[in-house]
């Protein structure tokens, strides 16, 4: 159990659990949090999980904890850990079952006033065009060969099929296609789960949300991103569906033998891992990249359906209803990147679980238009509250392996949320505050009630205060489609 007195205060926004806290820790844990958020975090086992993550072989720097941290399984959600490539380990539990769950933001030229009378129709059109909900399948029928191509090429497959623009692909992390994806490393069961689901939102906390840009903090960055105060924007939040879940399950199982083979001691079996340079580690990396590419393609296809819905509702009513991609980022991913650690640039495998990449200005891999301002960081809040658009900072690159928070972070279990909130009442309350909600399930909606989450504004103030990212714009929700 980690107590407040075990932490060393670095600043108002940074705390550290020293390596000496537990004999098996290989690196310290650095927590980005205010004291208030930290007190909330200490209600569950998230910090204990971060300490457990700090025991993995081959770690470099520090295990990092973002202010939206909450208890997961194995790794905490909101955790970042980097292992030296190729001799360190890769842990599927440090990436998550929903590989490349992520967020996409698109900007529009539609003014709030012009759109307002059409919100009910827009909610219906989005729900009709974008398959969502528990067990929902997509509209595409893929052959096994086509699924393999999706796994290999991600968003580029959607571009070839006319469901993406060049700008969409350019403004996606890794251009929507991780190199080194090998579909032969993805099991048949994962393919069987994923094949009918491409182009579907799923359920849980996944959503499509129409927002208004209600405040701009950095006019130049917002202009470059195409975000204008008083105009609509749209977010899509989903991941790799059953394909990613099965890839993670399969390799967690397979790594049971690997940990014995390579003599790795684990404090929690969900931290199952294998050396990156082992055949097992390489196979998982290749399969995980396939699932990541599937997720990029999935969000891209949903973006295509969203555009169709906008066309159905706004054609002839507004001059320009086109949605232009701002950015698409992953928040459950393991990536081999170059970072400076102790003054030396080395290759590391950065595990981001419930955390996003947040590269600063000039970083390698950003689209040309974002090189001067830094990478857009998308921080969706809970339903009915607000979301933020930030940019990564240069100073952040060495401190967090260029990473930031991914959302508000849960504080209440789903069981607690259901006891406190009634789905139908929540819809009425949201409607009364001008937010149109379409949900697949009332209990599911109650589980995602705003009070089940931390205050996203506090999370954002923390990353900004800590110098991890800077504010660009604040978004307010108008129409929410919950899976």
């Amino acid at each position: 159990m980690v107590r407040l007195q075990d932490l060393k205060r670095i600043s108002d926004y940074e705390w550290e659990i020293p390596k000496s806290f537990r004999a098996d820790m290989r690196v310290p844990v650095r927590i980005f949090s205010t004291k208030t958020l930290l007190e909330e975090v200490m209600q569950d086992k998230s910090l204990e999980q971060a300490v457990n993550a700090a025991t993995l072989p081959g770690l470099v720097g520090k295990v990092l904890v973002m202010p939206d941290i909450h208890q997961g399984y194995g790794f905490p959600i909101g955790g970042v850990a980097a292992t030296r490539y190729p001799e360190g380990v890769i842990s599927p539990g440090g990436i998550g079952y929903d590989i490349n769950c992520g967020v996409r933001l698109m900007a529009s030229q539609i003014e709030l006033g012009a759109a307002q009378p059409h919100f009910k129709q827009l909610a219906m059109a989005l729900e009709k065009n974008c398959p969502s909900g528990v067990g929902t399948k997509g509209q595409l029928r893929l052959s096994e060969g086509e699924l393999d191509e999706v796994c290999r090429t991600g968003s580029k497959w959607a571009l070839k099929k006319g469901m993406a623009t060049e700008t969409d692909v350019r403004r996606t992390e890794e251009r929507g296609s991780l190199a080194g994806a090998d579909p032969s490393k993805v099991g048949q069961r994962a393919k069987q789960r994923g094949r009918p689901q491409l182009g579907s939102l799923g359920a849980g906390n996944h959503f499509i949300e129409v927002d208004v840009v209600d405040k701009v903090f950095d006019p130049e960055a917002a202009r470059i991103m195409g975000l204008k105060e008083g105009f609509l924007a749209l977010q899509v939040h989903c991941g790799s569906r059953g394909l990613g879940h099965q890839v993670c399950s399969d390799y967690v199982q397979e790594f049971q033998n690997a940990v014995r083979k390579y003599g790795i001691q684990l404090v929690d079996r969900e931290l199952m891992c294998a050396p990156l340079d082992s055949p097992e580690g390489q196979a998982y990396l290749a399969a995980m990249r396939c699932a990541a590419n599937y997720a990029f393609a999935n969000r891209q296809i949903l973006a295509h359906y969203v555009r169709q819905a906008f066309g159905e509702v706004f054609a002839g009513k507004v001059d320009n209803w086109q949605l232009v991609q701002v950015y698409d980022i992953a928040h459950n991913m393991g990536k081999v990147e170059k970072h400076v650690v102790d003054g030396e640039e080395i290759e590391v495998c950065v595990h981001r679980k419930g955390a996003t990449r947040a590269f600063g200005p000039g970083a390698h891999g950003l689209p040309p238009e974002y090189r001067e301002i830094g990478q857009p960081v998308l921080v969706p809040g809970s339903m009915g509250t607000s979301s933020w658009v930030l940019v990564g900072t240069e100073a952040n690159m060495e401190r967090t392996f260029g990473s930031s928070c991914h959302g508000a972070g849960r504080v209440m279990s789903r069981q607690q949320a259901k006891k406190k909130v009634w789905g139908a009442t929540l819809i009425e309350e949201l409607e009364a505050s001008g937010i149109h909600v379409r949900a697949g399930s009332m209990p599911g909606l109650a589980e995602e009630a705003p009070e089940a989450y931390k205050d996203v504004d506090m999370v954002v103030e923390t990353v900004v205060g800590a110098g991890i990212a800077n504010k660009v714009a604040h978004l307010r929700p108008l129409v929410v489609i919950k899976g």
């Binding site: 569950d44 998230s46 909450h70 208890q71 997961g72 399984y73 194995g74 959600i77 539990g93 998550g96 079952y97 929903d98 528990v134 067990g135 069961r189 069987q192 789960r193 799923g202 359920a203 849980g204 059953g242 879940h245 099965q246 993670c248 399950s249 967690v252 199982q253 049971q256 929690d268 079996r269 969900e270 199952m272 849960r410 504080v411 209440m412 279990s413 789903r414 069981q415 607690q416 399930s441 209990p443 599911g444």
Partner: protein, 142 residues
């Protein structure tokens, strides 16, 4: 001289608090009932409703290095069958022998489901045995 009789517990389960995901605690007088209860608990938290007919029967064989792995494998097998074949099971006959398990499943098509379960995890998983039976806690990613 008195005879000490340990009463075996009746099989059951409850949902336990977990911030992000779903967790259950399961108990039963013997291991096959523990597995069967874990399956019923998972279907309950996923709000799975089965069709009344036709009945569907399956036989699955699993191999695992220990009892915790067997439980995770078994639940993940049911998640897979639920997602791909859209079938769920309410009757189970399980036979455990060393590292192997043979399981006769009887159920029906899933009529409705209220929640997607991505996977059963190993997090904090421990199958404990006592004089009165077996207990386990399982965390599901949802």
């Amino acid at each position: 001289m008195g005879i000490l009789v340990t009463m075996k517990i009746k099989a059951g389960f409850r949902e336990i608090e977990h911030t992000a995901d779903l967790a259950i605690e399961v108990w039963a007088p013997d291991l096959p009932s523990l597995f069967s209860q874990a399956a019923q608990a998972m279907y309950t938290v996923a709000r799975v409703q089965l069709a009344e007919t036709p009945r569907i029967n399956r036989l699955i064989n699993l191999h695992a290095q220990d009892i915790e792995s067997m439980l995770v494998l078994f639940l993940n097998e049911l998640i897979f069958l639920g997602e791909c074949d859209e079938v769920g099971f309410d009757e189970m006959d399980l036979r455990l022998s060393g590292e192997d398990m043979e399981c006769y499943l009887s159920g029906a098509d899933i009529k409705s489901k209220g929640r997607e379960i991505k996977a059963a995890t190993y997090h904090g998983l421990e199958v404990r045995s006592g004089a009165d039976g077996y207990r386990a806690k399982v965390v599901f990613d949802v």
